[in-house]
Each structure stands twice: as C-alpha cells, then as structure tokens.
Symmetry: D3
C-alpha cells in the first residue's frame, strides 16, 4: 500500500524509462518490505528547469557553474 | 487551516467537477473537525497517464491487463 | 486511483474523525469523478503547532494575534 | 540537505523571480539553521487557477467574491 | 538531482531495510536515467495506521475486511 | 495564497528558529511575488536521520563517509 513520488527535472525521460522506474520501485518495496505490488502507487513529477533549484541557483545555472569550475582545474 | 492535495490522473476533469471537489473537501473538514473554510487550501494535481503507476505498471497498461483478466473469466 | 494527502495541525483528531475523513474523501471522489474507492488512497499528516505557519507566524502566535484583534473591536 | 517545495498559482512568475525565490530560501536555511547551500534543493510548482481552492472555492471565484465584498463596504 | 518520497505505514521497518530502500532507489535512478547518486535525495515517511486509508477505510479496518472476505470463499 | 513545505532532518531546530523560517519564507514570497502574507501557509517536516538518504546512503552514514574522505586529503 505504499505511495512513492519521484521528482525529476523534465528533460526527456521516455515512457519506457518511466515504466522501468515504476516497475523497479514497486519490485524494491516488495523485495525489501514485502509490500503488495497490487496496491503500490508511484507517481512521477517532471519539473521544468527554471522551477528546480540546487546550491541556491536554478539548475541550469548550477550546471553551468559546475562545468566552469571543472574547466578551471 | 488545513492543506489538502488531491492527485488524480489527467483525464478530463472539468472546472465544475474540480470546484465540486474543492467545495466538498472543505465542507468535510468543517463538518468533521470544525476547520475554518476561510483558511482551508485545496490543490489538485493532474498527473499524465505515463507518470502514474499502479501494480508495477503505468496506469494504462495496468487497466489493459485488468480488462484482459476480466474477459478471461 | 487517486491519492489524497490531508495536512492538519495535531490537536486531537480522534480515530473516528479520521475514519470519517477517509470515508468522506473517498466517497467524494467516487461521486464527482467516478473514481474506484478500492484504489483510492488517503493519508493524513498531523503537524505540530510549531511546525505550521500562517500569516508569517507559527499558528499559535497567529491565533493569539487574531484573538487580540477581535477583542479590540 | 533540506528540501523545500513552493506551490503558487500559475500567473506569470518570471525566471528571474523564481531564481530569487530559490536563492532566498537557500540563504534563509543557511542563515537560520546553518544548512549547506550545496545540498539544498528547492522546487517550485505552478498550479493552474482551477486547480487551487481556498475558502471552499476555486481561487478566481474566491477573489471575485472578496472583491465584491470589498465594494459593498 | 532527483527527489524521492516513499510513504509507508509505520509497522516496524528497520534501519537496515530503510538503507536498502535508499540505496535501491538511488541505483535505479542512476541505471534508468543516468542521475547522479551524489545529489539524489530520498525521504521515507512512516504513517500511523489510523492516518492511512484505502478503499474508504482506515488500513487496519480494510485489512480485517479483506481477511473476512477471504475466509468466506 | 502560496503553500510552502520545508523538509529538514530532525536535529534540534528550536521553536524560535522555526518561527524565523516561517517569517522569512513568507516575507520572501511577498517581496518577490507580492503574495499576501495573510494566506501564505508554511509547514515544516522534521525527518528522522534514518529516514533521510543522500548519495545512496542514510544521512549519518553519508556524513561519516564525507568526514572520512576529508581526513584522507
């Protein structure tokens, strides 16, 4: 009877990949905790880049900053 | 002051139906717990079919599998 | 197959009241959208007073401020 | 390592405003609780008007009702 | 950079089982979508029985009803 | 009318610090987006260490691994 919510940035996950996530999480909960797959619900939220922040920055700015840092090394 | 989040698959709920959900949940919280409607917030999330899983499958595959099972009976 | 999350302040809701919320929301979703009660999941989160804010204040401070305002009228 | 979810009605927040929210919340958590900005995640959900309810009404109906009340005063 | 929230009924999941869930979900996201484990956040919410509803009933009532149905067959 | 949910590990945030978070987020939303503080709701979820994962590990194991790495440098 678990409920799982997966939040990722919207960047092209395919229906096949989403099906794999749904199946994989459901299996994991059955294997580890014996949860019944029949009543396991999984939802996936795809969040626009500008709506996702990390390190105090929108994610694309964050990635650009990380890449710039890498180059300087 | 409650906050309620309703998550459903996106399959054509009308503005009238959503208004009915909002009103109905707000009434319920007032009737059962005496919560003030003025500060009761309700949000509805409509989730794409491919982003909703149950029984280890994306919901449309799940429904197809259920329908096939019914037919076999 | 809906998922509903109800968040309220923790202030003594009884198991009977919670059962009424669960039943009431499930009925509402069936009546308004034809959702199957068998796969409707409802969770209730009870949040401590100091973890709930409204009007920029923790809820007990907010209520005290509202009560003070009422008295002045 | 905090996770913050900000839900607002979808009514034209710009990328710059969202970046300000992300930066502001991340700063706040560092200043108040010493949380590391590097692992602070912020997501913003923009919710359609018809999917947001307050006072038992969809938000646009609610605003219209409030405006009508104001005028009567 | 994904965020995953797993909600289960509170019924004795051990720290080892929780670690297995955390590791398993993080692996899955890396394998399926190439997500970086370093910034994958997983939270587990354990919900009291009386705060979890399915089929319009608190979960323990639901399980009792299911068991009674099974016996009748 | 925004709703904000802040999730942190449970490690001793005081009522004063929580009040500061509530006030700070509410101010931020007013300053950046002109949101009315009167209807801004903020909830704080404190999550047990064993229920929070990052980098594929429960957070205390993750911190220990990070500290060990630091020492080796």
């Amino acid at each position: 009877m678990p409920y799982v919510n997966i939040r990722i940035t919207r960047e092209g996950a395919t229906p096949e990949q989403k099906a794999e996530l749904i199946g994989g999480v459901t299996d994991l909960l059955q294997r580890v905790l014996g949860k019944n797959p029949a009543t396991t619900v999984v939802t996936i939220d795809e969040v626009e880049f500008e709506n996702w922040g990390i390190g105090g920055l929108p994610v694309l700015d964050y990635r650009a900053a990380q890449a710039a840092k890498e180059q300087k090394r």
